[in-house]
């Protein structure tokens, strides 16, 4: 049986979709059979981030309403060994799908895939309820900002209340030089406040913007964020890789800034 993981955050714009795409691709590169599902009805994005926007014929709502078979809606990303996308509908609203329908869909997919990754919409309304309905594990994405961390705290409370016990934190867009200056919360500051297990840290990296422009992932590329996403994927598979503590080590700090200067 596969594992169902929802990628969520509460606040919009912190990198849920980019994270879903990179973790999906990363896990597939590590030999897993993965399906990523865009659950943001009306605001379809995951296909664009992955560069698959021109291949959509059917979508999630078509599958749930029975307008097509599941196999017809799933897009295979041929660049990777076993990676599939179930796109969202661009023209429908959140009420087109119910949590029960989502749970059934995800339960069906669990039998066929090693990982089912759900890209959750921002907010805590029906789209969120739909996305978490079939999930047994979550990745809460946040950036080191007051508003994003506040929303992450709220989301963690809601996930726990929904009976999802394995909730892990991914801190995105950490700016090492600002942490050093005392102008951005460090990894320790954030984990102390949110008190859930840390899955990983993705430093702010322009390569993410460049890759997204091109509809390509950073995972697997030789850049800082790419290597960090790869580590996140390995941790998901149970490998014990220590999280680089970007805030304290002078040596690592120098290495990272050196890298930034080079690129």
């Amino acid at each position: 049986m596969g594992e169902v993981i929802v990628i969520t955050s509460g606040k919009g714009g912190v990198g849920k979709t980019t994270t879903t795409a990179n973790i999906g691709i990363g896990l597939s590169r590590l030999g897993k059979k993965v399906i990523v599902i865009d659950t943001d009805l009306g605001l379809r994005n995951l296909d664009v981030v992955m560069g698959l926007e021109n291949r959509i014929i059917y979508n999630l709502v078509d599958v749930i309403e029975g307008s097509c078979r599941l196999k017809q809606a799933i897009i295979r990303d041929k660049r990777y060994p076993e990676l599939y996308l179930l796109p969202s509908a661009q023209t429908r609203d959140k009420s087109s799908v119910s949590p029960e329908q989502m749970k059934k869909l995800v339960d069906d997919l669990k039998g066929e895939f090693d990982f089912v990754l759900l890209d959750c919409p921002a907010g805590i309304e029906q789209g969120f309820q739909n996305a978490i309905a079939g999930a047994e594990r979550s990745i809460v994405v946040t950036t080191p900002e007051v508003s994003a961390i506040r929303d992450a705290d709220r989301i963690i409370g809601l996930l726990e209340a929904a009976g999802i016990k394995k909730n892990e934190l991914l801190i995105n867009r950490l700016r090492v030089e600002m942490v050093k200056k005392g102008d951005m919360m460090s990894v320790d500051d954030v984990t102390e406040i949110l008190a859930i297990d840390l899955l990983g840290v993705i430093p702010d990296d322009e390569q993410v913007v460049i890759a997204t422009n091109q509809g390509e992932p950073v995972v697997g590329e030789d850049c800082l964020a790419g290597r960090c996403y790869d580590k996140v994927c390995r941790r998901i598979l149970g490998e014990e890789i220590p999280v680089t503590d970007f805030s304290h080590s002078e040596g690592i700090f120098k290495k990272i800034t050196g890298f930034f200067h080079r690129s």
């Binding site: 005392g182 919360m185 500051d189």
Partner: protein, 69 residues
């Protein structure tokens, strides 16, 4: 040199999370803390500086550091 802004961020966040977690306003949190302090002080000798309240997601921990030992 100015104060690192991260301290301000952490302070603001802490106060926000407490009010979010127990669904009440900062003012209500202050009154709750005052009432809890008064209640505890009926039974043991405490001073405000030895008394702190910490609100986690679903629990309220009352912490005090006594002197008479």
């Amino acid at each position: 040199m100015s104060v690192p802004s991260v301290n301000i961020a952490k302070e603001r966040l802490r106060s926000l999370l407490i009010t979010d977690r127990i669904h009440c306003t900062p003012d209500a949190v202050d009154r709750l803390s005052g009432d809890l302090y008064n209640t505890v002080s009926k039974y043991m000798e405490i001073k405000p500086e030895d008394f702190s309240i910490e609100i986690t997601r679903s629990d309220i921990h009352i912490r005090y550091t006594g002197e008479n030992h």
